[in-house]
Each structure stands twice: as C-alpha cells, then as structure tokens.
C-alpha cells in the first residue's frame, strides 16, 4: 500500500500515525506531488491531522528523546528522495525499542539520518555566512536565497538574535516563501508573484539611496584584502563552492 501526504512534516507524521491506527503495512509514504501515477498502485491520501502528528512526536520523544524529534525534523527539511521512508523507519525502530536509539550509530537508519543532519547543519551555517541584505527605501533589509535544502525554518533564530532592531526578510525563490521579521517576531510570507526576485541588485527604485554605494564599497574592500602573492584557488573553492557565488555581491564582476 502507498500513502501520500501533503508534503508537510505534520502531514508525514499523520500518515505514519495512520499506519499504526489501521495496522497496515505500507510499501511507501510519499508527498502527493512526488507520486508518479502507476497502473498498479492507487495511493491513499492521508489528510494532515495536527493531533495525530503531535501524538507521534510525543511517542518518539518518550521512547527516545527530544534530540530525536529534532533530528527527524531537520532531516525532513532535506527534501531528499526517500527521506519520508527513512523517518518512518526510525520511528518504527524507536517504537520497538526500549532504549533511546538516537545515538545508536551502529544502526544504518540512524547513521544515515545523522549524516543528513550534518549536511543540513552545513547549509544552515552557509546561509548564516552568505546571506547578503540589501536595504530598501522602507528600511527593510532584504535577501534572496536558494538553498540546497529547505533550511529557511532554521534560520530565524540566528538572524533574530543578530538583528533584533531592524526589519529583515529572507526569501527562498526556489521554494517560493520567505521569513519576515518585524522587530518583534518572525512570520512566513509568500509573494504572489516572485518572478522578479533576484540575488542581484534589486530595482534601483525600491532601494535605499545608499545601498548601491555600500555594495560598491564592500566589493572594493573585498578586492583589496586579497594578497595576490598568496593566491590559492583550490582552497578558495573549498570554502566557497561556485554555486554559492551568486549570493555574494563581492564575487560579481560588476553590478
């Protein structure tokens, strides 16, 4: 049997709950959007049920630990193919075990999840480093990203702490949503039409007057601190893989 869900973490947990409630064996749990029609299988869709989702999380927490639920959530954000089943596997193992399995690296499921979490952590760290804000006329500091994984939900804490007194917006163009902080709290937002959004300079008409100048100053700073006698591109690329260059105004030839 194949179960589909709406693509949210709660949705996945609801589907997992359903397998226990109906005592069914499933071949696959998969986001609805990813399901490829097949002649032989007719998937059953499970609607998201907050209550069920919560019960699954509490179950995992009781059997294993809070760390385990965090691990599952972070891994879920990877959006990797098969991640739903991996999470399902972990939960099954956790339910069947009498001890906390979160750090049982000898287990293949657990090991794989930890490896994925590490990748997520690295991406989060890169976003902390490579997000570049542009200041708009309304004094909103604005940034566009396109991370490898869906890490936006993990970014607000860092940026709230760093910029408590300025309004900022970080928008994921790949996934079409953003987080907006209004000096009080962070909210999710979606633009109806985000085709105009780019990493590069926003339209001059919406930018604060001084913004282009600061970008130029930063680029000129960056160019100047380089020591040509010590050039080492291999090391450079190791730190800033090419796919991240688009974020960095200092890496652009011109504006």
């Amino acid at each position: 049997m194949v179960l589909t869900y709406d693509g949210t973490f709660e949705g996945l947990l609801s589907a997992i709950f359903e397998t226990y409630r109906l005592k069914i064996a499933v071949a696959e749990i998969i986001p609805k959007d990813e399901w490829q029609n097949s002649l032989f299988e007719h998937p059953t869709h499970v609607a998201t049920n907050e209550e069920w989702a919560k019960r699954v999380l509490i179950g995992v927490q009781k059997k294993s630990s809070k760390k385990a639920t965090k691990l599952l959530y972070h891994c879920f954000l990877s959006e990797l193919p098969g991640i739903s089943m991996l999470i399902f596997d972990f939960i099954k193992k956790s339910v069947n075990s009498n001890i906390d399995i979160t750090d049982n690296f000898g287990d293949d499921t657990v090991l794989q999840l930890h490896q994925i979490k590490k990748k997520i952590g690295r991406e989060v760290h890169r976003m902390h480093a490579f997000v570049r804000f542009q200041c708009t006329k309304d004094d909103i500091y604005y940034s566009v990203i396109e991370p490898d994984f869906n890490v936006l939900p993990l970014l607000n804490d860092h940026f709230e702490k760093r910029y408590p007194a300025q309004e900022w917006l970080i928008y994921d163009v790949k996934r079409h949503y953003g987080i907006f902080y209004n000096k009080d709290k962070t909210e999710y937002i979606t633009f109806e039409d985000d085709t105009q959004l780019q990493y590069r300079q926003l339209n001059e008409s919406v930018l604060d007057e001084s913004e282009p100048e600061y970008q130029i100053l930063w680029k000129s700073y960056f160019d100047n601190v380089n020591i040509p006698e010590r050039r080492n591109m291999k090391l450079h690329l190791q730190h800033v893989p090419k796919r991240y260059w688009k974020y960095l105004s200092e890496k652009r030839a011109q504006f």
């Binding site: 500091y141 100053l217 930063w218 100047n224 601190v225 006698e229």
Partner: protein, 415 residues
C-alpha cells in the same frame, strides 16, 4: 558616502591586510534591546579571499600616515605611498552598514601613528566607544593597542573592545631595533602587561560580582613577522611560549613576511615563507592543545622546524624509543603524541576503551588516520610495530609522493 570614502577604504584596507589576526572568535556578547548584533563564541566567515583566508571582520587602518619608519611595513614614513585617514564617523558608518548587511562580524581597527601615540590611540578608542554606546553595537571589535600608549587609554580600550592586540612584530629586540629604530620591547610590553593584569583582575571580580562590566572578553593577542629578520624557529617559539605562559595571550600569530618593501634593511624574498609559517602554526597548536613542551618541538640540537614534515611526525621520528604506544593502556598525554591522532580522536579513544579493548576497526571509526598512526601504535588485534624499521624509511613514506599543501594554516594537516 562618496568617492573619497571609497578611495580611503582602498588605501586603508590594503595597508591593513598584512596583519593576519582576523579571528572573531572567543567573545560572547548578547544582543541588547534595540541593539545591533551579537558575538557568540565562534565567528562566522562571511567570505573568503582568493588566497583562501576567511573574511569575517572589516579590517582597516584608521590612517596609514605614520611618523615611524619600520622597514617591514608599507606605511613607513620613508615609503612613497598614497596616504589617507578616515574620520571617526566614517569608520563608524562603514562598520554599522557592513554589519547590517551581514557582510561582517565586526571591526578590526589598527592604525599608523599620526602626531603621537596617544593622539592615535585616543581616536581608536573613540570609535569603539561610539559603536558600543551610541549605536548599541554588540558585534566584535578588535583594537590595536599601540605600543607606548598610556594606561588610561589602554584601560578604556579594554572596556569597549572584545580583543586587544599589541604586536611584537619582530621576534628579537636586537632585530627590532635594526628594522624599526623608533621601537623597543619595553614599549610593547607596557600595554601588554597592563592588559594581562587588567584582564585577570576583571575576571576575578566577575566571579565575585556578576555585574562587573566586560573587559576585553576575548583576551589579547600578538603578531610576529617571520622571515624579515634572521631569528630561527627556536627563538620564535620560545618567545611565543613565554607569551602564552607569562602574558596569558590568547593567540600568537605568525605572519610570513610578504616582500612588499624595497627597504634594504629587510631581505628581498621571492615569495613569502608560507611553509615555514604553516609549520609554526602547527608547532603552536602542539603547545596549546597537544601538551607539548616547546623544547620537545625545537631545541639547541634541532633549532629549526622540519619543512618537509609536520612537527608532530618530526618529533615521533626523532624519538623512536617512545613508540609504539599501546592505545589500550597508554595515557591520554601519550596518545596525543601519535601522528595521525587528533585531540578529538584521542579523547574518543580514552572513553571508548572503557567499553572494551580497541581494535583496528574501532580506531578507523573513531577517525584515527591509520595511514600515519600505524607506524606508532599497537591495538588489540594488530601489532604494527613497524617502527622497528628505519625512521628514515617512514620519513620517506610521509614526505612522498603527495606533498603537503602549503600556505594553509587551518591545521588540518596532522591527519
């Protein structure tokens, strides 16, 4: 902001870039209400230069005007370069605006000496003070404490900065006098001693009274230029060791001399001594994290670091009688000395062996680099004991054919 600021930034970042201490770590400032920024232990690298160095701070000089004439320095009085000076306001604006855009973790401000030492120091302090008080800036601030500055100014600097550094610049006073006639060790040690005392004092007070303000919470550091004068590694490392022990410095930076100067008091090098610099950093790590005494790394018999071999491997090959070490019985201190075993692996070995004797496979999982370590250890299932062979043979295996990467001071090279 205008063209002039851009030009100043070009001149004054260019002149500051040879100072290598750029780390923004070690401090802990929480954001305050309505404030800007925080610093939380490990600094973030927001970009990397093409030479692979981390860009985390806005590193500039307040001015490159200078009344001194140090041969190794581009800003020296007798050098014909474009001069510029920022105003206090310009530095504050640049810092705030770069920080708000997430370009940087904070400011690293140094300066040439215009007029006199205190006149210059006073301005550095004023910038830090404005950032902290007027702009509630909680990002990282590293100020240069200028040799010879008054205790009062140094004290004030400590109240606003996260880290202060006084640069020794040249690893012996005799050489220093030759290349920097206006400088002497006494003037360098004066602010350094003051800071050592004050940092210690504030720390003690802090444990007694929690509301004690912060004083240079990320400590103090210094820098030495390597290769501009004839000191050997023994002198350099002895000096560094002394600074760690006596002055409780957080970091000593070694800066391979970049041949920027046409001054005939310093040698003309084809290239900066990057490999030597890297070896010095490795030796420095051995002293700080691997429980090595300085004379185990360099001594009268071996006054120079081996350029072909990292200093830990060099130590092991010089002391074959100490190996192999049985990972199941040896002390933590002994395990740390095995080439291919890092601090983390050593700790894991010590805790893992409580659950049972460690075998070859366990060591692999723990992260020991067996390619190197195998010559120096025994474990439950394998007696390598290959050191019975000639250390010279091992040396050959270690140095050929894949050459160590040079010019890389991230110290991933003990593996």
């Amino acid at each position: 902001m205008n063209e002039r600021v851009k030009e100043k930034l070009e001149i004054l970042s260019d002149a500051a870039k040879y100072d290598v201490s750029c780390s923004s770590s070690g401090s802990n400032r929480k954001n305050t209400k309505g404030g800007l920024g925080n610093s939380n232990g490990v600094g973030i690298c927001h970009s990397y230069t093409e030479d692979g160095r981390c860009v985390s701070l806005l590193k500039i000089l307040l001015t490159n005007h200078c009344i001194f004439d140090c041969a190794y320095c581009v800003s020296r009085r007798s050098n014909d370069v474009k001069r510029a000076a920022f105003t206090v306001q310009e530095v504050v604006d640049l810092t705030i605006n770069f920080y708000r855009r997430n370009y940087i973790e904070g400011l690293f401000l140094s300066s040439g000496i215009f007029k006199d030492v205190d006149y210059t120091m006073e301005r550095l302090v004023r910038i830090a003070k404005e950032l902290r008080t007027k702009h509630k800036f909680n990002g990282y601030i590293h100020l240069k404490a200028i040799p010879g500055a008054s205790d009062e100014l140094i004290h004030e600097a400590g109240l606003y900065a996260d880290r202060l550094s006084v640069n020794l610049e040249i690893p012996s006073e005799m050489s220093l006098k030759k290349v920097a006639p206006e400088k002497n060790y006494k003037e360098v040690y004066k602010p350094m001693n003051y800071l050592t005392g004050a940092i210690q004092g504030f720390k003690e007070e802090k444990t007694a009274i929690r509301s004690t303000p912060k004083f240079a919470p990320a400590g103090q550091s210094t820098q030495m230029v390597i290769g501009a004068t004839p000191e050997n590694d023994l002198t350099v490392l002895n000096l560094a060791d002394n600074l760690y022990q006596q002055q409780q410095l957080k970091r000593v930076y070694y800066s391979g001399y970049v041949p920027i100067s046409s001054d005939n008091r310093v040698p003309t090098l084809k290239q900066p001594p990057v490999i030597r610099e890297n070896r010095l950093y490795q030796a420095d790590w051995l002293m700080r994290f691997y429980e090595f005494k300085v004379d185990e790394i360099v001594n009268e018999v071996h006054p120079e670091l081996d350029l072909e071999l990292d200093p830990k491997a060099a130590y092991a090959l010089r002391n074959p009688h100490l190996f192999p070490i049985d990972v199941n019985n040896a002390t933590y201190h002994e395990i740390l000395r095995v080439p291919g075993v890092g601090v983390r692996s050593a700790k894991k070995i010590v805790s893992a062996r409580r659950h049972g004797k460690l075998r070859f496979d366990n060591l692999k999982k723990i992260g020991v680099v067996l390619k190197r370590a195998r010559f120096f250890i025994t474990c439950a299932d394998k007696e390598f004991n290959l050191l019975g062979k000639d250390p010279l043979v091992i040396r050959q295996i270690f140095t050929a054919p894949s050459r160590q990467k040079a010019g890389f001071n991230q110290l991933s090279l003990f593996g």
